[in-house]
Symmetry: C2
């Protein structure tokens, strides 16, 4: 009887832990998908600003302002998706370029986030002024804050 | 940065091609991915509002206000991704739940978009008032505008 009980306990513990494990893995995959989606939507909306700044697309003050406003709001969104256990090599099985070293450099990672958020907030302000030269400058400054973080914490492959 | 630039080029090509010729397969796939990402990021941010309204998550006025503000901005984003040739069954090979009949009902589809955008704008206003009963009501009203469009134009399978 003692054996039966201990087996029962073992089985229920196993079931409980597998349920917990599954839920965690699901949450991790959703968080990865969320941050990737947020960054991708931000990239899509930053695209026309980059193209206007480069002269690949005709400058349109109204569109620039609309895109910049969106980018500034989107810039705050991805970060909550970088949850524990969701970085590359953490065994979740999802594709992610977010390097494991983010975990050991949270302060720096967050500081780079703030720089990007500040740059996009300024971008939204500048884009309202209908000043192409100022827009170009701030698009470049914003792009640099993207690159700073990608160079450090995003995989190249 | 490489990704940002190529997206920018893709967007300007998309805009040019809407006048002259249909978008190519790569552009169609990017547009599908964009709208799906935008809708998914909106869903992620609407989630806590739904959970608070249902009593599954403790009401937090600050979080509710932040989420509602995001949702209102995101609500304007997905639509530019529903480009010609990107609906289900159009031979692009990408997975999409966007039914082909959207093409024959653009006015109705856009009218449902406007209803959702209006509901989220009101949601963002209401969420600032720290009035839980009013928030619940507007979360439900907003959810209904999502459902109205999904029932009509999103595949069930």
């Amino acid at each position: 009887m003692r054996v039966v009980i201990s087996l029962g306990v073992a089985v229920s513990l196993l079931m409980a832990s597998s349920v917990t494990q599954a839920a965690d893995e699901k949450q991790i995959k959703e968080a990865i998908e969320y941050r990737q989606s947020a960054l991708s939507v931000m990239g899509w909306n930053f695209g026309p600003l980059g193209a206007m700044a480069k002269g690949d697309m005709e400058y349109d003050a109204e569109e620039a302002s609309m895109r910049a406003e969106r980018v500034a709001v989107l810039a705050k969104m991805p970060w909550e998706g970088f949850i524990e256990g969701s970085l590359r090599g953490a065994g979740h099985g999802a594709d992610t370029d977010a390097l494991a070293k983010i975990a050991d450099n949270r302060d720096d990672f967050e500081s780079l986030q703030r720089e990007m958020e500040d740059a996009t907030a300024k971008l939204a302000e500048v884009a309202q002024q209908d000043d192409y030269a100022a827009l170009r400058q701030q698009v470049a400054a914003t792009g640099k804050t993207c690159k700073n973080c990608h160079d450090e914490y995003r995989a190249d492959d």
